[in-house]
C-alpha cells in the first residue's frame, strides 16, 4: 500500500501528512511534486493543506491547473482514492472533482481550533472503521472553509449520502454554535457520488498521536487502509 502526497508551491501540510501516514501509521508514502504526472505507483493520493500559490485569486484556483491535477482527475476517474484536506478540498472543488465551493469563513477571520465532526456516512472508503453517528475530534485551520452549494446540490448531496462529516456538538448535534465557519448545513466534508474522492476542511493528520491532543484522525487513515487491503492493495 503506497500513498502519494502532492506538493504544490505553498503547500504546508505535506510534511504532516507524510509523517502521519509514514512514521505514525507505517504505510509507504512519497511526496509527489506538482509537475509529476505519473501516479501509477500509488493506491491513494493526498492533496494536503496549505496555501497553494498563496491562495491568490481564490484558494485552489491556480493549483487546479498544475500538471499533476490532470493525472489526479484520471486517477479518480479510474476509481483511485483521492483525499483533499483543507486546501486540498478547495483544490478538488475548483477542479470540479467535487461540487460546491469554499467561501471565506462567515466571520471573515482565520480559525485554528478543535472541532467535533459527526460521521454521517460510514459506507465510504474513508469512514469504514467508524460507527454511524460517531463523533470525531479533529482540528481545523483555515480562512476559507465555509462550504457553499446551491440548495438543489445540497439536497442532492444529502440524498446520495455524500455528506460525510458535519460540524457538531460533542454529543453529535449539528447546531449553529458548533459550526466554526458558516458552512451550509454544517458540512465539513463531502465525497463524490462514487465515494472514492473525499474533501474535508478539518485536518485528520494533526490528530494521529496522543501527544498532540488526540488520535481520532487515525479512524480516517485506517479506514482507507482497510478499504485498500480489502481490495488487495
Amino acid at each position: 500500500m503506497r500513498f502519494g502526497v502532492v506538493v504544490f508551491p505553498g503547500t504546508w501540510s505535506d510534511t504532516d501528512c507524510y509523517h502521519a501516514l509514514g512514521a505514525v501509521l507505517g504505510y509507504r508514502v512519497d511526496y509527489v511534486w506538482h509537475q509529476q504526472t505519473d501516479l501509477s505507483a500509488y493506491n491513494g493520493i493526498v492533496l494536503p493543506g496549505g496555501f497553494s500559490y498563496g491562495d491568490y485569486l481564490r484558494p485552489g484556483a491556480i493549483a487546479r491547473f498544475s500538471p499533476v491535477m490532470a493525472s489526479v482527475a484520471r486517477f479518480a476517474a479510474d476509481g483511485g482514492l483521492v483525499i483533499g484536506i483543507c486546501n486540498g478540498f478547495q483544490v478538488l472543488c475548483e477542479a470540479g472533482l467535487l461540487p460546491g465551493v469554499l467561501l471565506p469563513n462567515s466571520h471573515l477571520q482565520y480559525r485554528c481550533q478543535w472541532t467535533n465532526l459527526r460521521v454521517d456516512n460510514t459506507m465510504t472508503p474513508y469512514t469504514g472503521t467508524c460507527r454511524p453517528g460517531q463523533v470525531l475530534r479533529v482540528p481545523i485551520s483555515h480562512g476559507d472553509g465555509n462550504y457553499y452549494a446551491d440548495e438543489a446540490t445540497l439536497t442532492d448531496l444529502e440524498r446520495h449520502g455524500q455528506v460525510v462529516f458535519r460540524y457538531c456538538t460533542p454529543d453529535g448535534e449539528a447546531t449553529p454554535e458548533s459550526n466554526p465557519n458558516g458552512a451550509a448545513r454544517n458540512i465539513a466534508g463531502i465525497c463524490n457520488q462514487q465515494r472514492n474522492v473525499l474533501g474535508m476542511m478539518p485536518h485528520p493528520e494533526r490528530c494521529c498521536e496522543q501527544v498532540l491532543g488526540g488520535t481520532d484522525g487515525r479512524f480516517i487513515f485506517q479506514s482507507i487502509a482497510s478499504y485498500l487491503e480489502a481490495l488487495g492493495g
Binding site: 508551491p9 505553498g10 504546508w12 501540510s13 510534511t15 504532516d16 509523517h19 502521519a20 493543506g49 496549505g50 496555501f51 500559490y53 498563496g54 491562495d55 491568490y56 477571520q109 482565520y110 480559525r111 485554528c112 481550533q113 482540528p139 485551520s141 480562512g143 485536518h203 493528520e205 494533526r206 498521536e209 501527544v211 498532540l212 491532543g213
Partner: protein
C-alpha cells in the same frame, strides 16, 4: 560643497556624523554612499546608542553556538546535535502606520533571519502592546496587527505558539509589535551570513526590487514621527507565498558545500545585507546594481541600494556553481541573478554598469560612532514611586466584583480571540498549545526532548523601576518555561524604548539592561540574540520602557510536562515561593490600575528566591509530582487560582494567606517568584519535603473541587461566572463594551 540639511534629515544623520564621514573618507561622499551610511549608521542597523550597554549582557555558555550580533540570529545546542536558532525583532513603527502590512512584514523579516541560518522555522511567538481598546484607532491597530501576523504566518505554515498582548494608554498610537521566530537544525549545518573567498559570486534571489521601504531603517525605525509627515510609502508590503518558496529553496541549499553563506535582505535592503556579509567574511565586494531585477522603471542606484522590498536573499556561492543554485531556485519558481563578486581588498564597491557609484571601506560602514550618554532618572517619577500604598482604601469594592473586573480586563482576559486566528498546530509538533499553560511546548522529532517557549515583559513595572522591571522580565519568562517543566536555557530580547537622546529614556534603557543582565547571571541564562527599538513615542511622550524577553527552555521528556488548569477534584492546591515585599506586590499591579486608576509604587525582585522556586517546580514536574503549575503574575493570587479553575473546569475552595496586612495585597498583589501548583493528596508531603530542601515556602491554600470558587472571608462565586468574565473580556472590549 556643504551637504544640504534636508538631505541629512531624510536619512537621519546629524551634521557631526556627516563631518565624521568626510573626515574618515577624506572626501565628500557621493549620494549613494551617503544613503548607505545613513542606513548603516542608523540606530536600527548600527545600534549607536545601545551597543555599549548591550555588552553588559552575559552571552556565553557551554550550549551557546552563536551569540548576539554575530549572525542573523543566535543559536544554542540542545543535545543530540540539534541546534535551536532564535531571535526576536520589532516592527513597531511600520505597524503604527499600516498595521496589517507592518505586522506581516515583521513576521516575514524574523522568519528570514532564522532560515538564513539554515534552520527550519518551527515556531512563531509575538509580544504585542496597544493603547486602550476604548479608542477606535487602537482597536483598528490591534485588529490589523493580529490579522497581519495571521495572514503572513498562516500562509507560511509556521505555528504561532505563544506570546502576550497588553493594553495601556502608554502605547496609544504607538503599538509594540515584537515577533519571535524559533528554528531547528543540525548543529553542524548552521549557515553563516557571510561573503568570503576572492572571486566567489554574490547572487540575489527571490523577489524583484521596487521602491518600497526606502529609508525604512533610517527614517522609520530610528527616529520619532513628525506630525503630518506621510510615511506610508516607507512601509513594505509582504508576499508570504514568495517567502514560503524562498524558505524551501534556501533550506535545500543547506549542507551544499558550494554555498559560502546566505544573508537576508531586511532593514536597509541590499546595502546592509551585502556590507554585513562582507564584514563577517572579512572581505570586500563589487556589485553592479544594473543586474538587480526590478519591478519599477527608472530606479536609480540609490533607490536600488536602499529599497526594502521584501522576500529577497543574498547567496554567496563558490565560483562555477551558480548554475546549481539557479536550478534550485528555478524549481521553486524563483529568479536568481549574479550581482557581483567577493573581493579581497576590504572595499565595498557599487557600480551601475561601468560607472562606479560607491567605494567605501567595509569597515568604515560597519563602525558607526557610539554614544555613551548620561542618563538621569526623570524627576516626575519620584512621587509615583514613593506613593504611600498603605494609605489607599483597601478593596474599595466587593472582592468578588473586583475579581470579575480583573478577569475581564483585556490584560488578563483570555486571548483566545487572538490565537485562534493563528495556526498553532501546523508541523504537528505542538504539545502544549496557546492558552493552556504559561509556555508552549513543542516536541523535537528524533529525540525524546521538548522545547518550551514564552515571551514576557511588563511595561508598568519597568516604568516604575526599570532595573527591577528588567530583572522581572527575565525572571518571569524563565518562570513561565519552568511552570511547564523546562529548564531555562537561553533568551532573545527586544528592547522597546523612547528617544535615547532624552536623558530620562537613556536612564531607563541602562537600568533595564542592568536588571536584565543581573537576572540572566543569577538564573544562568545567556542572551543569544536580540533587537533594539528606540524612538517609540508620539507627541514627545515616550512609551513605557518595555524590554520583552523571549525564553527558550528544555524539557527532557516532552510527554512529561505540566499545564495550568486543575486536573483532579480533591487535589491539594499550594503556593510555592514568595519573598518579602513591604507593599505586597501592589506596586504597578493590574489591580491598582483597574481599581484605583493608578500606576504607582516600587516593585521588588529577589533573584535568589526566584532561582529557588524555579528549581523546585522543574524538579517536581520531572518527578511527576504536580498535576498543574501556574505562574502567579498579573492580577495576583486570586486571579492565578481563578485561571487554574477556569482552565481545568473545576472549582476551588480555600483561603489566601494574609499579605502586608491588607486584603487587596493578599488577593491581587503581584509579588514575584510565586507559583500555584496542585498535587494529589498522596504527594503533598513529597512536595513539601522538596520545597523545604530548597528553602522554598510551600503554603497549602485549599482543595480542587465542585462548581464554585471560594476564597474564605472574601468571595464565593459560581465558576461559570468567572469563566464568562475571563472568556468574554477581550471581545467585549473590542465591541466597545465597558
Amino acid at each position: 560643497m556643504p551637504v544640504d540639511q534636508r538631505v541629512l534629515d531624510e536619512i537621519a544623520l546629524s551634521r557631526a556624523e556627516y563631518d565624521l564621514i568626510v573626515q574618515r573618507l577624506g572626501r565628500e561622499p557621493s549620494d549613494v554612499e551617503l544613503g548607505m551610511f545613513g542606513a548603516l549608521w542608523s540606530e536600527h542597523c548600527g545600534y549607536k546608542h545601545s551597543k555599549p550597554l548591550l555588552k553588559l549582557f552575559p552571552s556565553k555558555g557551554p550550549r551557546v553556538l552563536v551569540g548576539p550580533g554575530a549572525e542573523n540570529a543566535g543559536a544554542v545546542d540542545i543535545g543530540d546535535g540539534v541546534a535551536v536558532v532564535m531571535k526576536m525583532e520589532s516592527h513597531n513603527h511600520p505597524s503604527a502606520i499600516e498595521p496589517y502590512q507592518g505586522a506581516a512584514t515583521g513576521v516575514g523579516g524574523i522568519v528570514r533571519d532564522i532560515f538564513t541560518m539554515g534552520a527550519r522555522p518551527v515556531a512563531l511567538l509575538n509580544s504585542l502592546r496597544f493603547g486602550p481598546l476604548s479608542e477606535p484607532r487602537n482597536r483598528y491597530l490591534f485588529g490589523g496587527v493580529v490579522a497581519g501576523i495571521a495572514g503572513y504566518g498562516n500562509c507560511l505554515g509556521i505555528p504561532d505558539v505563544a506570546g502576550e498582548v497588553c493594553f495601556s494608554p502608554a502605547y496609544s498610537h504607538n503599538p509594540l509589535v515584537n515577533a519571535m521566530c524559533v528554528g531547528l537544525t543540525e548543529a553542524r549545518s548552521l549557515v553563516r551570513g557571510q561573503a568570503r573567498g576572492l572571486g566567489n559570486l554574490l547572487m540575489l534571489v527571490g523577489s524583484d526590487t521596487g521602491r518600497d521601504g526606502i529609508h525604512g531603517a533610517s527614517g522609520l525605525a530610528s527616529r520619532t514621527f513628525e506630525a503630518g509627515r506621510e510615511l506610508r510609502p516607507t512601509v513594505q508590503v509582504g508576499n508570504p507565498f514568495l517567502e514560503k518558496l524562498l524558505l524551501e529553496a534556501c533550506l535545500e541549499l543547506v549542507g551544499r558545500d558550494y554555498v559560502v553563506g546566505i544573508n537576508d535582505l531586511g532593514a536597509a535592503g541590499l546595502t546592509s545585507s551585502a556590507v554585513e556579509a562582507a564584514a563577517r567574511g572579512g572581505s570586500g565586494l563589487d556589485i553592479d546594481v544594473l543586474q538587480v531585477p526590478r519591478r519599477e522603471q527608472d530606479m536609480t542606484a540609490y533607490e536600488v541600494m536602499l529599497s526594502e522590498s521584501q522576500e529577497r536573499m543574498l547567496v554567496a556561492v563558490k565560483q562555477g556553481f551558480e548554475d546549481r543554485v539557479e536550478a534550485v531556485f528555478r524549481r521553486w519558481g524563483l529568479s536568481s541573478v549574479v550581482l557581483g563578486r567577493v573581493t579581497s581588498d576590504g572595499m565595498a564597491r557599487v557600480r551601475e554598469g561601468d560607472r562606479q557609484v560607491a567605494e567605501v571601506p567595509v569597515a568604515l560602514f560597519t563602525d558607526p560612532p557610539q554614544y555613551r550618554l548620561e542618563g538621569r532618572m526623570p524627576k516626575e517619577l519620584q512621587p509615583h514611586r514613593e506613593k504611600r500604598l498603605d494609605l489607599l482604601r483597601d478593596l474599595p469594592e466587593e472582592p468578588g466584583q473586583l475579581l470579575l473586573r480583573l478577569l475581564a480586563s483585556p490584560n488578563i482576559a483570555s486571548k483566545e480571540w487572538v490565537y485562534r486566528q493563528y495556526d498553532h498546530q501546523v508541523l504537528t509538533n505542538t504539545v502544549v498549545s496557546p492558552g493552556a499553560a504559561d509556555a508552549a511546548v513543542l516536541r523535537v522529532r528524533g529525540t525524546p526532548r521538548g522545547i518550551a517557549l514564552a515571551t514576557d515583559g511588563n511595561g508598568r513595572l519597568c516604568y516604575l523601576d526599570p532595573y527591577v522591571g528588567g530583572a522581572l522580565a527575565v525572571a518571569e519568562a524563565a518562570r513561565n518555561v519552568a511552570c511547564v517543566g523546562a529548564r531555562p536555557l537561553a533568551l532573545t530580547d527586544c528592547l522597546n524604548f523612547g528617544n535615547p537622546e532624552n536623558p530620562g529614556v537613556y536612564w531607563q534603557l541602562e537600568q533595564a539592561i542592568r536588571g536584565m543582565a543581573d537576572a540572566c547571571r543569577r538564573l544562568d541564562v545567556p542572551v543569544i540574540s536580540g533587537n533594539v527599538s528606540l524612538y517609540n513615542e508620539t507627541q514627545g511622550k515616550p512609551i513605557y520602557p518595555t524590554p520583552v524577553v523571549g525564553m527558550l527552555g528544555l524539557v527532557d521528556d516532552a510527554a512529561r510536562h505540566c499545564t495550568s488548569g486543575f486536573k483532579c477534584p480533591g487535589d491539594v492546591v499550594a503556593l510555592l515561593g514568595g519573598g518579602a515585599d513591604p507593599q505586597g506586590g501592589l506596586a504597578g499591579s493590574e489591580y491598582l490600575e483597574v481599581a484605583h486608576g493608578l500606576v504607582v509604587g516600587k516593585p521588588v525582585v529577589d533573584l535568589a528566591a526566584e532561582a529557588r522556586v524555579q528549581r523546585v517546580v522543574v524538579e517536581a514536574i520531572s518527578r511527576g509530582l504536580l498535576h498543574s503549575a501556574h505562574d502567579c503574575a498579573d492580577g495576583g493570587l486570586a486571579v492565578a487560582l481563578a485561571e487554574c479553575s477556569i482552565l481545568g473546569g473545576m472549582g476551588f475552595q480555600g483561603q489566601v494567606p494574609l499579605v502586608a496586612g491588607r486584603g487587596d495585597a493578599s488577593l491581587f498583589g503581584e509579588a514575584a517568584s510565586r507559583i500555584v501548583v496542585s498535587v494529589a493528596r498522596a504527594d503533598q508531603t513529597n512536595l513539601e519535603g522538596l520545597a523545604r530542601a530548597h528553602g522554598v515556602p510551600c503554603q497549602v491554600l485549599g482543595r480542587v473541587g465542585n462548581a464554585r470558587f471560594a476564597l474564605k472571608g472574601y468571595l464565593d462565586l459560581p465558576l461559570t461566572r468567572l469563566a464568562a468574565a475571563w472568556r468574554g473580556g477581550l471581545e467585549d472590549a473590542l465591541k466597545g463594551l465597558p
